[in-house]
């Protein structure tokens, strides 16, 4: 990846961010701009989480059409939100506060992933595919359970639940943003240490071991880091489901490389560009009549198909 591409996308992010914060704000520094800065911070942290977790996850499972959503992390989040609504109702949810809900959902996702990794990755002979299979089955089981809970809640509570099940940057608050930022920072510091070993893992498990990578340990470490990123992003901006697929694959197409020192920074920037653009469109053009997830799926899906048709090569 050339320096030109990277500087190009960084400039694009800055321009978009300035437009997002200042367009039509009347330079109101008391309310409008601080609120927009909160959303922008949510987009930045959420984008970095989604991009890093998706790209690293695709490396670990050696598959370009999966995201960590398949492990059932988001299903745990949704079930927890549905349970909260059933037990506490909308008033109780409001009383609980966004900050506490953020911490509790993150904590639950981490417990879930810890239990699953401990169960399936601790014995040496078990592999990543078994983890994926169990994750997929648990996603469905939890999803069904959530549907069952949905039937028990009132229509008003259901509309609250539906809002929580979409990706949205409006939930971000200074308190949750701070927790999220610290968590992402810690993940980046720890993950950076073995960044080059991730490249070797692209060659497959056996080749990686032959080249001196302690594969079981690295898989455990990076799966844990991914769980933290997903817990943070899901609690912060809601489930992103398969948005990560587009972000990762668009990144591979732009970098024409799978080396993580290229894909991880560019992927984060790409995710932020996509999220800011989608949020701008939702706010300005559609006036909140559609959601970020729907917009991103539509536009990125079309772009991705175009890439596939036009560039007929493996990336």
């Amino acid at each position: 990846m050339s320096l030109r591409v990277m500087s190009g996308v960084v400039v694009a992010v800055l321009v978009l961010a300035v437009i997002f914060v200042f367009m039509g704000s009347g330079l109101d520094f008391d309310y409008i701009i601080p609120k927009r800065l909160e959303r922008l911070a949510g987009i930045l942290i959420g984008g970095v989480c989604v991009a890093l977790s998706s790209i690293v996850f695709q490396t670990l499972v050696n598959n370009r059409i999966l995201t960590p959503a398949i492990m059932g992390y988001e299903a745990v989040y949704l079930m927890w939100q549905a349970m909260l609504l059933l037990i506490l109702g909308t008033h109780g949810m409001a009383a609980l506060g966004v900050g506490l809900n953020f911490l509790m959902s993150s904590f639950l996702i981490l417990i879930y992933s810890w239990a699953m990794h401990r169960w399936l990755l601790s014995q040496g002979r078990r592999d990543v595919y078994q983890l994926l299979l169990v994750g997929l089955v648990l996603t469905m089981v939890l999803g069904t359970f959530t549907q069952f809970v949905q039937l028990r809640i009132s229509p008003g509570e259901f509309s609250v639940f539906q809002n929580l099940s979409y990706t949205s940057f409006n939930r971000a608050q200074p308190e949750t943003l701070l927790y999220a930022f610290l968590a992402v920072l810690a993940v980046c510091v720890v993950g950076y240490r073995y960044l080059s070993e991730l490249d070797v893992l692209l060659l497959g498990r056996e080749q990686a071991v032959s080249l001196g990578v302690n594969e079981p340990q690295r898989i455990r470490l990076y799966m844990a880091l991914i769980a933290i990123l997903v817990a943070v992003s899901t609690s912060l901006i809601g489930p992103t489901a398969f948005l990560g697929i587009f972000i990762a694959n668009i990144t591979y197409a732009i970098t024409k490389s799978r080396l993580h020192r290229h894909t991880l920074p560019l992927g984060s920037v790409v995710a932020v560009i996509i999220f800011i653009t989608a949020q701008l469109l939702v706010e300005r053009l559609f006036n909140y009549k559609t959601t970020v997830s729907i917009l991103v799926n539509l536009v990125c899906g079309a772009y991705f198909l175009m890439l596939m048709v036009r560039v007929r090569t493996t990336l």
Binding site: R64, G124, L195, S196, E197, D199, V200, L202, L203, G204, E206, Q207, V209, S210, L211, G212, V213, N214, E215, K256, S257, R258, T313, T314, L315
Partner: protein
């Protein structure tokens, strides 16, 4: 240098390898031969540290391999698995650069670059240096992977069926390259091979396996005999000594009790 003692491997209730003992001569090509399911690849993968034995140990310079950290072992023993499935867009020289990972940890030095160039030149792959791996033919791809393994600069190379799916020309090129690795650089090459004629003409040492046990372990001259091979493969063999070497003919078995079959 590398040896195995009482090595056993079982999958569920099936014993794949039972109490294998062998020492592999240094600076030689050793071929692991035998019928399918004899335990050849299992033995090689345990030596590579990719499969854990149920009991017994692999020793490198007298140290049990389980006691050597993975990162250190990668500077002693390089492994190439059969026909790696590949969906990555990498250039040949980028793939070969991965061979330097045990030393460089991703940041290539001038010396690393020199070794990469030498490995590519060793296999005469200069013209493919900037080609993408997924656009190469099977034979060229295998050569590129071999170049990566050579760039790892380990005293021992383990190759699992390196001639799989290759045409005759590429197969000969690979075997000649392995011969030169031993003769010119003194490396030890251990490979699993199915073509008995390549094994007979290129290796120094043969380890034959049958039903999970070591059937024969000795120099190639003693291994390539009609009795031993017939017994090993349960096929009728004829060894023909030609000017260029020995040819094992097993293609048209002579049925000993043909009359009885007819009757």
């Amino acid at each position: 240098m590398i040896s195995v003692e009482n090595l056993c491997k079982e999958y569920a209730d099936k014993t794949v390898l039972a109490s294998a003992n062998a020492a592999f001569p240094v600076g030689c090509i050793t071929s692991l031969i035998g019928p399918n399911g004899a335990g050849k690849s299992t033995l090689l993968m345990m030596m590579a540290g990719l499969i854990k034995p149920v009991s017994g140990s692999v020793f490198f310079d007298g140290v049990p391999v389980g006691d050597i950290p993975v990162a250190d072992y990668a500077r002693k023993v390089a492994t190439l698995r059969q026909s790696p499935g590949f969906n990555l867009r990498l250039k040949v020289h980028e793939l070969v650069a991965f061979g330097r990972f045990p030393y460089s940890k991703g940041a290539l030095s001038a010396h690393d670059r020199q070794v990469i160039d030498d490995s590519i030149a060793f296999l005469s792959l200069e013209h493919l240096r900037n080609a993408f791996i997924d656009e190469l033919s099977g034979g060229q791809r295998q050569m590129a992977f071999l170049a990566m393994t050579i760039a790892q600069q380990t005293p021992v190379l383990l190759l699992d069926e390196p001639l799989n799916n290759l045409d005759m020309k590429h197969a000969v090129q690979i075997m000649q390259a392995l011969r030169r690795l031993c003769d010119e650089q003194g490396r030890t090459v251990i490979l699993v091979i199915h073509d008995i004629n390549f094994a007979a003409n290129y290796s120094d040492h043969i380890v034959a396996l049958k039903s999970g046990a070591i059937h024969f372990n000795g120099p190639v001259y003693d291994a390539v005999t009609e009795t031993l091979l017939s017994d090993l493969y349960e096929l009728d063999f004829e060894i023909i000594n030609s000017k260029r070497g020995r040819v094992c003919d097993y293609f048209t078995p002579v049925l000993e009790n043909e009359n009885e079959v007819d009757g």
